[in-house]
């Protein structure tokens, strides 16, 4: 039973990281790519960390896993925000699919 839970957590975590890499390749503009890489990668690393720390089942491993989870969830939005703020002014326009929503409101 423990084997099953740990295996499912590890497979799901690596699968979410793969999903975010596919999103990085397939989205059309930078905003969509950052949307893919920030959220799905954080969630995948979270699942992997829970699985691995359940496998070892020691106190210091749990503390380190908690540290990594807190740090990744604090810094991934900050890194994405900093990347978006550094974009060149000429690249600032969205693709046609992304711009459709904001233009219809006006």
């Amino acid at each position: 039973m423990d084997k099953l839970i740990i295996s499912i957590l590890i497979l799901l975590g690596s699968f979410f990281v793969l999903i975010s890499a596919i999103g990085l390749l397939r989205f059309k503009d930078l905003y969509g790519r950052l949307h893919a890489t920030t959220k799905a990668t954080s969630f995948g690393i979270l699942l992997l960390l829970i699985g691995v720390s359940l496998y070892f089942n020691e106190v210091h491993v749990y503390i380190k896993a908690l540290l990594i989870i807190i740090f990744i969830y604090l810094t991934a939005p900050l890194a994405a925000h900093s990347i978006v703020k550094s974009i060149l002014p000429k690249n600032k326009k969205l693709t046609a699919d992304s711009a459709k929503d904001t233009q219809e409101k006006k």
């Binding site: 084997k3 740990i6 950052l34 089942n57 380190k64």
Partner: protein, 91 residues
């Protein structure tokens, strides 16, 4: 718990992570702007964290758990440094 995980599960996880690494390297090579390349670099560090975690399960050695702590810290500082440099260079 220390239940032995079957090895093929870990190899499938390795395959997922290496496929993600290859796809990210494609984006890193052909990324139109330098911001896409920074995003790809950020993702590569996360993939390496995942690889080290799966590898520590494969050899069942909890000592490897120190590396992701440092790697998460250093990759964040690197991303912030490069993107701040680019935004200040562009005025």
């Amino acid at each position: 718990m220390n239940a032995l995980i079957p090895e093929y599960i870990l190899y499938i996880a390795f395959a997922f992570l290496m496929l993600a690494m290859i796809i990210t390297l494609i984006r890193l090579l052909k990324g139109p702007s330098i911001n896409d390349q920074i995003a790809a670099m950020d993702l590569i560090s996360s993939i390496i964290i995942g690889l080290i975690l799966v590898y520590s399960v494969l050899i069942s050695n909890a000592m490897y758990f120190d590396i992701p702590v440092i790697l998460a810290l250093v990759s964040f500082i690197g991303t912030i440094a490069v993107s701040t440099y680019i935004s200040q260079k562009n005025g």
